[in-house]
Amino acid sequence: MSTRAEAAQGLRLVSPTFLYVLVMLAAPLAMVAAFSFWTQDYLIIDRTPTLDNYRAALGEPIYRTLLLRSVAISLTVTVVTVLLAFPVAYFVAFRVKRQQALWLFLITVPFWTSYLLRVFLWKVILGYNGVLNATLMGMGFTDAPLTFLLYNANAVVITLAHAWAPFAILPIFVALARIDRSLLEAAEDLGDGPFRRFTRITLPLAMPGVVAATLIVLIPTMGDYITPRLVGGTEGLMIANMIQIQFGQANNAPLGAALAVTAMVVIGTISAGIFLIGKRLGGRLT
């Protein structure tokens, strides 16, 4: 078969997938990008290209605050989630001998209920008359209900960290489980105690899993709007809530689009940075 015929066949093979990606992903993205350069004039859209939306998105304090807060919340959620996920993944990969599958299965159990249900659960736990406050008062640790638990950024971080934990545990587990145990023995043989074995072998080899976990948690939490809407109050609102408002009540789709594109660029840049750092650490943590 000639290379041209092969290429043609290859194209035919990938074309359904390619079309699907084009229609489902690239087209909406292109639409959003296009909208961000237009202007909403009550019911009609003025298609004269303009950068006014970006000027507003980056310049007006409210949008800047929301954008920075979203970045801060999603980074916090990511750090908390990955730091808590690592020991769990490590435990299952290295300490559980016979029932790894069962453990992994149990870790995914929270997913059997809808996400909304889980968010409401946290509302019940963290609320003014919630489980946590009742317990603390009942045990005499506090006199009055704590109010910093719900309807702020803390609540958003707690709820999201809980929701994304399995997504962080699984890739780290896979990376840890793949580490050849004789590598750890070789490190021991060459003089390393448990701590150095961990920092020189286990951690660098787990890096791909840690980076995957970081990105898997970071990217979607940046754009989350259900969680801040339900447990974030006004202090916990994030950029996605504002984007939704612009497309809805505010009837300013172009500004919403510009906010969305800005958020994407910011999170894309951060992700690329994390990816590159992780790649270097994987080889250099010796």
Partner: protein
């Protein structure tokens, strides 16, 4: 056994027992490895060779018994504090590090300057013929190169003992044979004690000063390669090392010069006293052994040896330099294997032809039936 070194004991195993749950992997091993010796643990898969090596390295603790290295009791001393370094069966090359970083891994703790470090690593790589490969990534190495890097990584530590777990079993035949010689020569030149685990008897014979043959967690015989081949202590060792013909036999009497033995198909023969192993109970003799090369096909012109029999060739395998014949014994269904060096003016005997086979009483081997 080693000409290059005085003999202080380097590794002393005393009644070393290892149990995994209810399974006993090692039943009381007693052995001493001398300083500078090339010592091999040889035995079939599952006999406990790796377990014994891991006990010496400190990856496992003995259930009972003691292990001393260079005169020090190793009880409670973890692997990272022992004067041993291991070449793992899988080589265990760190995949995230390049060759120099792999070899220098254990030197990191010695706080050498950058220059000293590079020199040590360079020398170790030179030793294993890998100079110039410092910057190679682990995944760019072939099997043979990985093996060399693993060896350099152990040697650079200047350990008292290098432990090698089937280091050549993953290599193809040609490379393996080359590495056997190189490893042997390297050990001779640096004089570090080597303990090699292998299931390949030929490899053990070629490389070792001394070999411990193990079966089911016990040492069946510990001897030099030559002793092991020429005087196997038990039937099992005899059949494990090289090719051996076994013939039913029993002792019928004793003379001043030796033991009278009746061998099936070969008849009665007096075995000289010096060939009879000490401690062998004469009444227990059920079989004798004879090596294929100790049986010789007699061609017309050759002078006849003392003993011979008439057999029939039932098959042959031609190896170029050698031919192996299967010869049916007279008055029996039994065949023996005979090896003959091929020469320029002698044709290979075809199956179906009769041959005269000569042998001598000195080449008849006696051994214990049980281990």
């Amino acid at each position: 056994m080693n000409e290059t070194n005085g003999s202080a004991p380097m590794i002393e195993l005393e009644k070393t027992v290892k149990r995994f749950g209810t399974f006993t992997a090692l039943h009381g091993i007693d052995a001493t490895v001398q300083e500078g010796e090339f010592f091999s643990l040889l035995g079939p898969s599952g006999c406990g060779k790796t377990t014994l090596l891991r006990l010496i390295a400190g990856f496992e603790n003995p259930t009972s018994g003691s292990i001393r290295i260079a005169g020090h009791d190793m009880r409670g001393i973890p692997a990272n504090k022992r004067p041993t370094n291991m070449v793992f069966q899988s080589y265990a090359i760190f995949p995230h590090l390049n060759v120099a970083q792999n070899v220098g891994y254990g030197l990191k703790r010695r706080h050498l300057s950058r220059r000293e470090m590079a020199r040590e690593v360079g020398e170790a790589l030179e030793m294993v013929d890998m100079a110039g490969y410092e910057r190679r990534a682990a995944h760019e190495l072939s099997g043979g190169q990985r093996q060399r890097v693993a060896l350099a990584r152990a040697l650079v530590m200047r350990p008292k003992v290098v432990l090698l777990d089937e280091p050549l079993s993953a290599l193809d035949k040609k490379l393996r044979e080359q590495m056997q010689r190189e490893l042997r020569d390297l050990q001779r030149s640096i004089g570090i004690t080597f303990v090699l685990v292998t299931h390949d008897q030929e490899e053990a014979l070629i490389m070792s000063d001394r070999i411990a043959v193990m079966f089911e967690g016990r040492i069946a015989q510990m001897a030099t390669p030559e002793e092991l081949y020429r005087r196997p202590a038990s039937r099992r060792v005899a059949s494990f090392i090289g090719v051996m013909n076994f013939l039913p036999a029993r002792a019928t009497g004793e003379t001043q010069t030796g033991l009278v033995v009746q061998i099936e198909s070969l008849g009665e023969v007096v075995l000289p006293s010096h060939t009879i192993p000490a401690g062998l109970r004469v009444d227990d003799i059920r079989e004798v052994g004879i090596r294929p090369e100790m049986l010789t096909v007699i061609f017309d012109d050759a002078p006849g040896p003392r003993h011979s029999f008439e057999g029939q060739v039932s098959g042959n395998s031609y190896y170029g330099d050698m031919t192996y014949y299967d010869v049916v014994l007279p008055g029996s269904e039994r065949t023996v294997t005979i090896s003959m060096r091929n020469t320029a003016n002698r044709a290979v005997v075809r199956p179906g032809n009769p041959v005269r086979v000569g042998w001598s009483a000195e080449s008849i081997l006696l051994f214990r039936q049980e281990d």
